[in-house]
Amino acid sequence: MNPIQISLMTIFHPMDGFCLIKSDRENFSYIPSIILSVLFVAVRIVSMYLMHYSVGSVEPYQIDIPIEIAMLIAPVLSWIVVHYAITTISSGECKMREVYAGLVYAFVPYIVCMLPIALLSHLFSQSSAGTITLLQNIVWIYCIFQVFVSIKAMNDFTLKKTIGIIILTLVGIVLCWVLILLLYGLTGQLINTAYQLLVEFINIYIS
């Protein structure tokens, strides 16, 4: 199966489509997944530039590409790590790279639809910008639904368990980030203390 066939399968038959990722574990190639994730970032940024002037909320000169990329990578990375951690202790059937692949294939509709929507926005103005926002929201909801299905299909979970796992993952991500920020702050303090000690040491014994 090539990646295009897998993508088509995930769109038309999501339950069986996502299973393809792990049905032939040893031979599954991850290069398309990486290309797809790069495409995702590219589509997001290009669609921001392509958006019609009177519809888009951000103007081209306001776009900060590094921040946009970071804003995409940080949640995705934390999702993969936390979700993998939680599924492994609750009878999940995925490896970490398969979680990644599932997530990427779930966002194929985004990659396909966002550029046409950005082009379509050139037919709308501020007064009817709601239509474009609605279309974008529909794509986002569809993608989130695909993520949901991918978790359910790839781990063979029941509906209830899938919802539970997703909620747990979200809580886990929040906790994770609280921890990271806490560590960041404390490390700063630690480095500061060490530096002060060094200064004291130099002042007393060397100079």
């Binding site: 199966m1 088509l8 038309f12 069986d16 049905s23 501020q126 007064s127």
Partner: protein, 515 residues
């Protein structure tokens, strides 16, 4: 030797350059005292942003003293009026008098004691309840009379143009007015002879009197606004506490004027939006399409770098004036700015600041305009009147606005183009050109200009107009394209679906075999 010469030469050049730089820095230090540019406010998205523009007004002269027998300076003046012949009338509240001077500050007369003409009219003495003014606050002059809001004596005094008593208006005998003391602070008279009054302790808009001094009603009541937190506080606070009451007080007017067409222009205090209002005869605000608009400036500035304490500055409008072309000049006393607005509530420019130098204010209270467009600003803190002259930039700006108002869009566009040669980034000019193009049905150009003006609303209007024009022109082509797209999409979807279904069958049966 050659090398030495070179070294000496280069040293000399370095010295010259250093001296030049030093002089430049001294010049720039001076430039801070007399700023070389004014400002312009424009909308960026939903925020108000500011941009420097060439100077719009320069100081012509400052009136500090005048030849008076009593007192040659003003003491806490409160209001000023400029009549059609450019005579300046100042309410000198601290000295309880009215001073009339010409446009260069030469005194014509002063009125401190109210006298009847020739002092022989008995009836006049009878009506006149007090022969002196007490804390006068407002003045209005029309073609035959001077009206003074004599706040301390709770009356309006009418004088003729030579300063002699005509009559006074005290509190009308009307049941609707019994609650309030008649402490009139501002007065204006419409062309039809209706006297509009503003009371100090009253929040019910303007009181209207007819020329016989009878009460006609109130007009232009401001609306109370409350937010959820205030509402909650008022519910939680018990009894007659201050919190419970202040939240429901309507914002008061600080000053007002009536233009030649009978519109009342007024400034509202204690609010952050719609501070400038233009009232029609029913008392409804029609300025700026009736939407909520933030006039003036509203920003936070860090005052202490260490603690990050910040101060909140909001423009507080104390007076305004309108020129015959409909440009509104509003005076703010928190930062000493004077804002120019057009009839669509777009800011044209703002200038002026607080300070002690020439052309700066300590506590500006009143603004008025002369027939040639020269502005006079009265400062209560210093007692000076500063006269501002418009620059070429400002004259072009006003000319463009007037031409646009008279629907001479083509001429207006030429003026704005000239203005852009002086300042290529002047947002208002781009917007004005956009508007002119839009009115001429040249939507493509209008869109380009609106884009430069960062005006999404205008851009949208032009875009929609352009779109409907194109749709009319290429209707069948568009329908054809849409039909083709739909057909193509349906066929493509079906083929894809068939292909994927085949794939699905293959996958599931193969998967089934595998297990």
């Amino acid at each position: 030797m050659k090398i030495f010469k070179k070294i000496i030469a280069s040293l000399l050049t370095v010295c010259v350059i250093a001296a030049g730089v030093a002089e430049l820095s001294i010049n720039s230090a001076n430039a801070e005292i007399v700023s070389l540019y004014d400002w312009h406010l424009y909308m960026e998205g939903s925020n108000v942003a500011k941009m420097a523009i060439p100077k719009a007004y320069t100081v012509r002269n400052t009136i500090r003293t005048f030849e008076s027998q009593a007192n040659a300076v003003f003491s806490t003046p409160t209001d000023m009026f400029i009549d059609d012949d450019d005579n300046i009338y100042v309410v000198d509240s601290g000295n309880a008098r009215i001073v009339k001077m010409d446009s260069w500050g030469n005194m014509i007369y002063e009125v401190s004691a109210i006298e009847c003409r020739h002092g022989e009219d008995e009836e006049c003495d009878h009506v006149n309840s007090s022969s002196v003014l007490s804390k006068p606050n407002g003045i209005f002059v029309n073609s035959d009379s001077i009206y003074i809001a004599d706040t301390g004596n709770r009356r309006v005094v009418q004088l003729d143009l030579d300063g002699y008593f005509v009559r006074e208006y005290t509190k009308p005998d009307d049941p609707a007015l019994t609650d309030y003391p008649f402490d009139v602070t501002k007065v204006a008279v419409s062309n039809r002879g209706i006297i509009y009054l503003l009371l100090e302790t009253d929040f019910q808009g303007f009181i209207m009197l007819n020329d016989a001094g009878e009460y006609m009603g109130n007009t232009g009541m401001t609306r109370t606004t409350t937010n959820f937190v205030e509402y909650l506080w008022s519910k939680l606070s018990t009894g007659n506490s201050l919190l419970q009451r202040t939240s429901y007080t309507a914002p008061p007017y600080s000053n007002f004027m009536i233009d030649g067409e009978g519109w009342i222009y007024a400034t509202v205090e204690t609010v952050e939006t719609n501070q400038i209002t233009k009232l029609n005869s029913v008392g409804t605000n029609v300025f700026g399409n009736g939407e909520s608009v933030q006039y003036g400036r509203n920003f936070y500035e860090i005052t202490d770098e260490l603690t990050y304490e910040s101060a909140h500055y909001v423009s507080n409008f104390v007076d305004l004036t309108v020129d015959p072309d409909g440009i509104v000049y509003a005076l703010d006393d928190t930062l000493g700015n004077i804002f120019l607005y057009d009839q669509e509530s777009n800011n044209l420019a703002y200038f002026g600041e607080l300070g002690t130098n020439r052309g700066k204010f300590r506590k500006p209270v009143a603004i008025d305009i002369m027939s040639d467009g020269t502005l006079a600003v009265l400062d209560a803190g210093t007692g000076y009147i500063t006269i501002f002259e418009s620059t070429q930039f400002c004259d072009l700006m006003k000319k463009g606005t007037t031409l646009y108002r008279n629907a001479q869009y083509n001429e207006a566009r030429d003026v704005w183009t000239q203005l852009l040669q002086l300042d290529a980034n002047y947002i208002y000019a781009h917007k004005a050109i956009g508007r002119a193009y839009y009115k001429e049905d040249n939507y493509q150009e209008a869109m380009a200009e609106y884009k430069l003006a960062k005006d999404k609303e205008g851009y949208s209007l032009a875009f929609e107009a352009n779109k409907s024009e194109l749709t009319k022109k290429y209707f069948f082509l568009i329908v054809l394209i849409i039909a083709l797209l739909i057909v193509g999409f349906v066929i493509g979807y079906r083929k894809l679906k068939k292909y994927v279904d085949k794939l699905h069958v293959k996958v599931t049966t193969w998967g089934g075999d595998d297990e």
